[in-house]
Symmetry: none
Subunit: 209 residues, 4 copies
């Protein structure tokens, strides 16, 4: 498929982008191929032609998501970092990733459809790989405190924490009149990193000093 993308016109890419936008806003099953084809400005039958069906687009998006996520995590491991620097760099990188690829990340982190076999399998496989990477990261800077069996608690907890703002963003912006700019996301990333490092007690101390 990677090869075909070069041969095929940019219709392929337009479909992916349109779908990412639509799937991020509404559930996979509630987005129709007509809607996608419309937004992408391509003929309906191109979706089956390029992707073998609607699910194929989701697979493509998920593959991109997981590739991106894995490389972001791996690239965040810097040997010379202290534990605090590690976590802060990690959180900053993840937040950057989500900000620059919000749609794809919202889709990747959301509850994916379990009733589409291909998607389900991919999710199982990638979750498995994710856990391994999580272990590597734990090993890197948490070796002295994280028991193995807790990886599966702290890992998902950390990722869920980080994405939570983006899934609630629309609602939060209706209530609090906040401008979500670079400054905001620096604070966001740091606040959660410090929460993760020192908890609300340590966090408070630091902030109030």
């Amino acid at each position: 498929m990677e090869n075909n993308k070069k041969i095929w016109g940019d219709a392929f890419e337009r479909i992916v982008e349109a779908s990412a936008e639509l799937f991020a806003e509404n559930a996979f099953h509630s987005v129709g191929v007509r809607e996608i084809a419309n937004k992408a400005n391509v003929n309906i039958s191109m979706i089956s032609y390029y992707f073998g069906g609607k699910a194929g687009i989701l697979i493509e998006i998920l593959n991109r998501f997981f590739d991106m996520q894995f490389s972001t995590l791996k690239n965040s491991i810097v040997e010379t970092d202290s534990k605090e620097e590690s976590i802060k760099r990690l959180f900053r990188n993840i937040v950057d990733m989500i900000r620059t690829h919000t749609n794809i990340c919202l889709i990747g982190f959301s509850d994916l459809p379990n009733n589409v076999p291909e998607v389900y399998e991919l999710k199982v496989n990638k979750t498995h790989q994710m856990m391994e990477i999580g272990n590597q990261i734990s090993t890197r800077f948490c070796i002295d405190f994280c028991k193995d069996e807790l990886t599966h608690i702290l890992g998902p907890a950390m990722m869920s924490m980080l994405i939570s703002h983006f899934t609630h963003k629309n609602f939060i912006s209706q209530i609090y009149k906040i401008e979500f700019d670079n400054n905001y996301y620096d604070t966001y990333s740091n606040t959660l990193a410090e929460l993760f490092l020192y908890g609300i007690t340590g966090f408070s101390t630091e902030k109030n000093q």
Copy 2:
């Protein structure tokens, strides 16, 4: 509707329960009314009869979820608690709530459909109420460290952290052979409470002592 439930037969309740199970497993839009009617063992037209349409079931479930969530949060505020006791009690109560009403909670915490106007409005309203309760809780035991503007970060982060395990449960259980019993959830609740209180640094210290 609360009154009607007593008058109406238990078909009403069977529909709610079947739907909760199905909506928890797959997205709202990918569950059909025929599937619901089958599982609930009722005639398909009873869904419109009782709920005015498929969306009505989701509204009923969401109302139950938010009622439950609000009362759980409010009931977790005990004046005599220390900060640590507060957080631990809160986390324990939320985990209990999720365990006893897993389906409803998975639905309530998940990305709800934005393209169903009634559901969207309810979500906006309830998110607003939720933020107010979050503020009350912050005020109760975080007054000395939580700046107001951080409620909207820590609140969603906390809830997302707590639900994260349940959304990943099926995948985790395929990888790690863990028995999810009372002991497990005591640990789970405590681990996250301590993470939230002291971060991974304080957490590790305590655990390793």
Copy 3:
């Protein structure tokens, strides 16, 4: 059924009236029993109970219509009338009938559903009786000019002419700002009677004198 009406409460009558109103405005098949029951303020099942089904209401209405129509026509024959008096009296009586029982007449004159066997049969029977009455009327005052085979042309033509205003009333009143009062209907009845008697040529002469 005549007997039952006295025994039964006025629910029977309320159903007939509500249905007449609804059937007059919209086609029989597009009016639901719920709508009828609502408007008549009775329980849905009363319709089947009293009338044996939705079609039963239409049958009741049609029977009333044909009874009314037949007696109106018969009562319009006055031995001592001249031909002109006959026609004018006839037209006046029919217009009166339509004005006082507009809904029932609109239903009776409209295209009745052919796909409801009971209704179809009734329509065939009553049309047959109607033709006989038409013949009697022709015989009474048209004997010298109407060949038998023309009854089936002039009869329907006359009735259609007379009802035509009422079927178009809503549209006409949107275009011409006319008050439909007693005066209007005197003119209406007379205009058509004269048209029927003398045609537009005779009619014009008379009017312009």
Copy 4:
């Protein structure tokens, strides 16, 4: 839509014809899309594809009807005609139109559904146009006798008279054993024209001479 008809297959036309037949026999609301699709020998979803829904077919038919009716009326105005020739030509042309397009005309003249907004609007618009054309015709050959305010009486009366036979045809043919051939319709058209011109008095004189 006129353009598309050429591009689209003859499925479009088959749907229109099948629907015209069915709508002419039974009310719009009592004809199902399955029935139409069956008769037209097309897939059921083609109805939404081509017409956007069942109502779209009716709109198409009504547009054809009104176009046809308007051009028939306009084409019946011949400058050199005497008043009698005018009316006779007009009636002959209308009867011809109804005979060659019976189904469409029966639909167009019948009580259209008021509860389909698009249809209702079209009916209002076209009735308005129809009245204007009626005025033109009155002006042409009735200028000396028809007061303006009577157009809305004589116009509908005339059209209703002419269509009346076709709506009663099935019932009439069950009672009178008449062959409805060219001769019959020549008589039919002439009888009504003379009725309209001279009334039953003049009519009888002429016929009996």
